[in-house]
Amino acid sequence: MITFDAVTKAFPGGNVAVDNLSLELPTGQITVFVGPSGCGKTTSLRMINRTIEPTSGTISIDGEDVTSQDAALLRRRIGYVIQHAGLFPHRTVADNIATVPLLNGVNKAQAREQARELLTRVGLDESLASRYPAQLSGGQQQRVGVARALAADPPVMLMDEPFSAVDPIVRDGLQREFLRLQSELGKTIAFVTHDIDEAIKLGDRVAIFREGGHLAQVGSPQDLLDDPADEFVADFVGRDRGFRALSFITAEKLEVEQVSAYVDRARGASLVLDDTGRPTGWSVDGQEVLRALPGTFTTRDALRLVTDLAITSPAGAAVRVDEAGVADGVVAHEAIARHLTALRRETER
């Protein structure tokens, strides 16, 4: 557990970036710091690994005050990921990943071998190991950044807007994979973002910061959406917070129609499948022309995704697939709306 106890940071010149922050980040969970730009998220994060020292108050990890520890050794036990990955341009991908093990005196061969394993772990091909960062795409660099932070298997990870600089589709992939990794690794993670959607998607707990380095509210994403502490929080989580709440409900109980009802339809959009039954797109009004599928969902995806897919599909319906990617149901947005109404009645009762 990481504990902030009455921590204040005033920069020279009197700029108070963090004001009397008390906060706990539970072990094995993702705590997201979210808020508008300049509200002290990065400063708070950096005080954990002592790249910024607090003006007053204490930060401890598992009860031990961070300022009582050697800064360099402390940092090697804390993974750090930043926005543009901050990879070393002069080192190969493998050597970038091996950075902290090498600092800790692990021998080169072993560190590189382990770096290759980590590459696969973050969803990259081992063949990238000998490339230089400039030869990777932004999304790949970000994955390498994550691998580098994980290399020494630190119990704590600090992530400062790690996915903000990549385009939305890549970001979505990175986020999903990050959650999958975390479900295997169970690190204690402090994650900074200015994007409330990302905060809700990733956070076990979300700490909303406001201007002047004040903590506005902290709680589970559900708490913040259901019960915002004040006007600022309500505003920040947004008017469409009902829609956001759909992020927490899976499509498990959502009833779907038979796929066959949508195949070879004379009028309107008709679903096209390949030989193995995987959906490839929509054809409109019996024409050959395919309109791309906006995506598919499984029973484990959130209703928010299903709603998105249905709205953006030319048929006004989302396609469900099984583990193998074979289409096993279709749901129109009217059906989703009925499902939501039923859910609301259920919770109100």
Partner: protein, 214 residues
């Protein structure tokens, strides 16, 4: 011309040899002094302006004046080759200290921040991250210093120690073109060879700069 070269081969080669060490030794001295000086200006930012200003002033002193002034400050004979070495070391230092400082400052940013945040100690970070990243800019400075030294050494001929410059003075004294042409051609060749040598070393040291983008 050919006859001149054949008749004076030994002389020409010894002038060339002298030219090489008179111009390259100061570069080495300059590098050795400029690295710590440049580093200190980054570590203690207030040093930057004074160092840059001093470098600018030193660099603007005419070389001939420096050859005359140096013996007055330190005990070397005006006609000693050491005088040239010291003077050119001053130039190399003036040029390189600023280059090293600017190169090191230019690499400060997210990457060096990330290095510190991962647990590099300052010295290891300097040698493992900042200097390698600063290499391309520093090597560019090294090329300028080397080539300009090679041309400046010839000026030393005026005070009697000048490597290939001696060929110029001899040619002028004898009103004979051949040694002048040989001197010019050799010093241009020498500059070209040293410059390409540095480029090759740089390519070898910084493979990542050629690892084309995306």
């Amino acid at each position: 011309m050919i006859a001149y070269i054949q008749g004076n081969q030994a002389r020409i080669l010894s002038d060339l040899g002298q030219h090489v060490w008179l111009s390259l030794l100061p570069v080495l001295v300059g590098v050795v002094l400029a690295l710590p000086a440049g580093y200190l200006t980054v570590r203690y930012r207030w040093l930057y302006q004074p160092v840059v200003n001093l470098g600018g002033i030193l660099y603007s002193v005419p070389s001939l004046a420096l050859f005359v002034v140096i013996p007055a400050i330190i005990p070397v004979g005006t006609l000693s080759p050491l005088n040239i070495v010291v003077a050119l070391s001053v130039y190399s230092f003036a040029l390189l200290a600023r280059t090293v400082a600017d190169a090191l400052i230019s690499v400060q940013g997210e990457t060096t921040w990330a290095a510190a945040a991962m647990g590099f100690r300052p010295l290891r970070q300097l040698f493992g991250v900042e200097l390698p990243m600063a290499l391309p800019v520093m090597m560019a400075g090294l090329r300028v210093a080397t080539v300009s030294n090679i041309s400046l050494v010839s000026v030393g001929a005026i005070i009697g120690v000048g490597g290939l410059g001696d060929l110029f003075t001899r040619g002028l004294q004898l009103s004979y073109l051949a040694p002048i042409i040989v001197g010019i051609v050799l010093s241009v060749l020498l500059a070209a060879v040293c410059d390409s040598g540095i480029v090759l070393v740089q390519r070898w040291l910084t493979p990542w700069t050629r690892a084309g983008a995306r």
